[in-house]
Symmetry: C2
Subunit: 675 residues, 2 copies
Amino acid sequence: MAYTHDDQLAINTIRTLAVDAIAKAKSGHPGAPLGMAPVAHVLFSRILKFNPKNPQWLNRDRFVLSNGHGCMLLYGMLHLAGYAVSMEDIQHFRQIDSLTPGHPEANHTPGVEVTTGPLGQGIAKAVGLAMAEAHSAAVFNKGNLDVFSNYTYCFVGDGCLMEGVASEACSLAGHLQLGCLIVVTFCEDVLKRYEAYGWHTQTVADGNNDLPGIEAALRTAQKETSKPSIIALKTTIGYGSLLQGTSAVHGAALQADDIAQLKAKFGFDPHASFAVPQQAYDLYKAVAVHGAKAEEAWATLFENYAARYAREAADIKRRVAKELPAGWETHLPSFTPSASAPAVASRKMSENVLAAVADVVPELVGGSADLTTPNLTRWKDAVDFQAPASGLGSYAGRYIRYGVREHAMGAIMNGLGAYGTILPFAGTFLIFVSYAAPAVRLSALSCVRAIWVATHDSIGQGEDGATHQPIETLAHFRALPNCMVWRPADANETSAAYAAALSARKTPSIIVLTRQDLPPLAGTALSKASKGGYVLLEADKADLTLVSTGSEVALCVDTAAYLSDKHGLVVRIVSLPCFDVFDRQPRDYKLQVLPDGIPSLSVEVLATNGWERYTHEQFGLDRFGASAPYKDLYKKFDFTVQGVAKRALATVDFWKKMPGIVSPVNRAFNQNNLI
Amino acid sequence: MAYTHDDQLAINTIRTLAVDAIAKAKSGHPGAPLGMAPVAHVLFSRILKFNPKNPQWLNRDRFVLSNGHGCMLLYGMLHLAGYAVSMEDIQHFRQIDSLTPGHPEANHTPGVEVTTGPLGQGIAKAVGLAMAEAHSAAVFNKGNLDVFSNYTYCFVGDGCLMEGVASEACSLAGHLQLGCLIVVTFCEDVLKRYEAYGWHTQTVADGNNDLPGIEAALRTAQKETSKPSIIALKTTIGYGSLLQGTSAVHGAALQADDIAQLKAKFGFDPHASFAVPQQAYDLYKAVAVHGAKAEEAWATLFENYAARYAREAADIKRRVAKELPAGWETHLPSFTPSASAPAVASRKMSENVLAAVADVVPELVGGSADLTTPNLTRWKDAVDFQAPASGLGSYAGRYIRYGVREHAMGAIMNGLGAYGTILPFAGTFLIFVSYAAPAVRLSALSCVRAIWVATHDSIGQGEDGATHQPIETLAHFRALPNCMVWRPADANETSAAYAAALSARKTPSIIVLTRQDLPPLAGTALSKASKGGYVLLEADKADLTLVSTGSEVALCVDTAAYLSDKHGLVVRIVSLPCFDVFDRQPRDYKLQVLPDGIPSLSVEVLATNGWERYTHEQFGLDRFGASAPYKDLYKKFDFTVQGVAKRALATVDFWKKMPGIVSPVNRAFNQNNLI
């Protein structure tokens, strides 16, 4: 179908809307929308399969604007295309509580698939979305009933492609032969690199005007099913502005005279703002009708599918609703500890949980960044997620071999989680979760239920030494809003951590696990640990509360016995596997766990920062670790019964002399209980 | 010179030493040393310019083992080559307090240039070392007096090359045409990608045996002066082991029978451990003599240089000693604030400091990850660090255009700082320092004085929205050992931050700065701020202490006036720009700043985690931000005089009823004052 004047009008509408919104906000990035409007129009009007009336249609094509700073392009498209983004929303671009924030945020604006802006994250999420489609299609499609057949389209600028996370994700996408992924970029000099990654590459010489050429390239990319595609468009940044082609047009509103000449050049009234010609709306109305019909056809297909494959259809619906299978939690291992039970590493307990729930929770799809063996993340009989042609597995496989690509792994989890049918998890050493810090942050911000299986969680790591031993890592992620950090002390607490992580619909989790064996503990239970913190050992008229997590809880138990024996002290013990969950308990409960009148000492072989919220005194490791067998390290750093006892006695002596002992959780107000 | 039986003996010695040390430690990675011993031997015996008796010789070639888990290769080489790594050290591989930790650590083992192990960091540091050499040569070499002429060699495995940080660093190295950088790798399939980065590539087909071929490739790489070089060697992981060529030989000690057959195969006594044939020592003695002569020749050259260029020679010596120029600190801006002074953003204050010290501290070399304009990191008249052939600058330039490569920027700073003549700084938005978290950690661990200029430090960022507004970032880096985080409130505190950062010899700094303007403050001074925390406003019989940092200090001043006016409350104000420095003050001083008996409230628009160490109550932002003009955001989140006052009143009311008010810094013990 030939392109007409109306197409050009729609393109120029997208441009002037962006320019006007940015001018009104006095803030934003006009360069990208001006240059990218033509390809955006071709994609949305001719290629993209979507129904603006149902942004959650399962088999819609996904669109990711990786260069999220160009979001006025996206908001303009969503408005024109008929999504619930009104002209008023456009006019409140970047204003308080608007639908149109400064970068696109998922779970905030209808039609925005994933949160982008921090560079490189969007394209990596697009890889995740494409992997999710490939997996869902392989698992669910039957005969000619292709329930899942969507493409993932991604626009990406040179900034994103310079980021390491993009390199990691795109080299993995090439390896995985993700034919349903189509990327459009504006920098030509990357094509040789993408060829090396195993991608299909094309160039469109005039991305400003050659609409048929753009469409042809997109259709060619669709037909390339054995490789991801990248199309380099030669466009002019800030096209139409007096500053076009310069960096001055990248990140600041255009001047009034520049806007006036731009509008005149595009045939718009230089004095009118936020003008949308009726022809542009009409064009997109037709597109929306086409999209609604496509969804209807799919719905019919899905009905046929459900008639023949009721179990699968129900499974799809359940997954999309983020509901876990009924009774799944009964499969979580629980234990009645006995003193004669063998010592077990919590990474091994984690493996037991994964083995127990893998069959029951089929949406659980994950892997490791080249540390499968030490992470213990791969259950028996798992099939690798690999391109069928590779001979290494299949797209129906649920175990992802990420390679040494932690950051991409985190960002890809955000794409996998956003697709709707997958609950992603990923393993690496705790210290290397920091490689993915920006992706973990976006999981939390955009409410993706991603689960990190983070093993080797302290100096207990041992011989690998200081480079591999976390110190600050938990303080970091405990401070991240909407992120659960679990450091379980035994098998029951490990089950509690997974129970919380799997059932949290809008919160990512980091489950922190030991390499070294942990002795059995008495007094733990899944139900207790599920409160984030609880009294492991109660005592009347206690002299002290010891508070701890993970591998140090057993040390506290031994120290309490020693202090009783040798010093006649009465010691309570609190296990605090998840600060975030404990913080959300009622005040009374928290004060019951950490009461006034009793001094408290925390024991954790990590940075003490943040522990002052719960205890009066802290014993931790505010220095880097070292290389040696872990028992030698615990001794070196005084994490022994004697070392803890020494600090416990100092705590008791010191607080005896104080005028009063107020529990650290007894406070005038807190962030969860705002005044 | 032909290779003889002694060369093969030396190679096999390297192999058996590694195998024995790993077996004794029951821990380590034998695969890499077995496969890489030939190229290591060729490099150390024929190519590398070094003097084991002086590992600090300024013009030595730098060697980086990026796959740091193969460190027994490096320790074995250092031992053979005559560095101060004894046989006893080798035998204590990975043991407590040994010179031979599980991954190579700079500032720990003589001959280890940079800390490696976290994958991808080593090669990025190698890029930094090569940049430092190119810069030093361009600045100091005169006529035929090449004071700086060393190469940087780096061994790198496939794991490192999958990491995004390696992609970022290597694409920058290609752009910068760093001819003095020579990388040896063991994976062939990356060469096409490295060609795309602009590198010179070669392959050696038999990396196990073709010693002349390896040498020839290294010499060809030396001659390629306009591009960095990468040489792919086909080697066999675990060469000689029964498990050779399999992943089983990567990361676990070999079995006894495997070790015996391997030794027999290599002509060693299967029953002897840690055997070093005298011929191997003798071979390397000759190498060491050659190296010592090379250093002598260089010393003579340097004497001639010093005779003709006394100022430059003195400058080199001063830089290497990490001494700043005499009187440099008098150039730091200082201010006597007046109420009529204009409001200024602290990023602008930072620009003023950089402008003031740029000429005085010529070793200050840095740049930004594509945010030069908003970071305000480039002083007037700065010259860009670019390959001369690019026409964009020169290697003598001190301003680095990193591109959107935050992680590589952080890792490259570690290389720049390790070279000896450069004091590196780098700018980005605070939120994006998290992209470089693993590199920041290694700055701290290996004591590199790297300075982050981290602007846009909070919701004060404004319209860019939640994706760009830090919440958890300061809690993270404040918990990192040996890292100063400065959040200055005005120009005097900004000078104090730079004074500390520039003069810290072994500690990295993150200077956290606002985008938005800050009103002038009374009572600040560089000398006070240099203590990390101080009383900005003292008051007798105070009802409350408000404690704050950066942009919220002025808000506390206004709130104190309001509380006095409207509620008759007496309020003290404490500014706490750097927790880490304050923590190191004497207990008495800390208690003077934060005394017993007065309740305290902290005010900072970031995560509250960690503030409990200093205050009884915290007002912060334990949720994500939003997109709007910053004044609207401060209002939305209640960071107004009324919002702070409300919490201040709640604090005073609450603590009145408590039995006693113990200062949070009055504790039984702390990590700096261990019992």
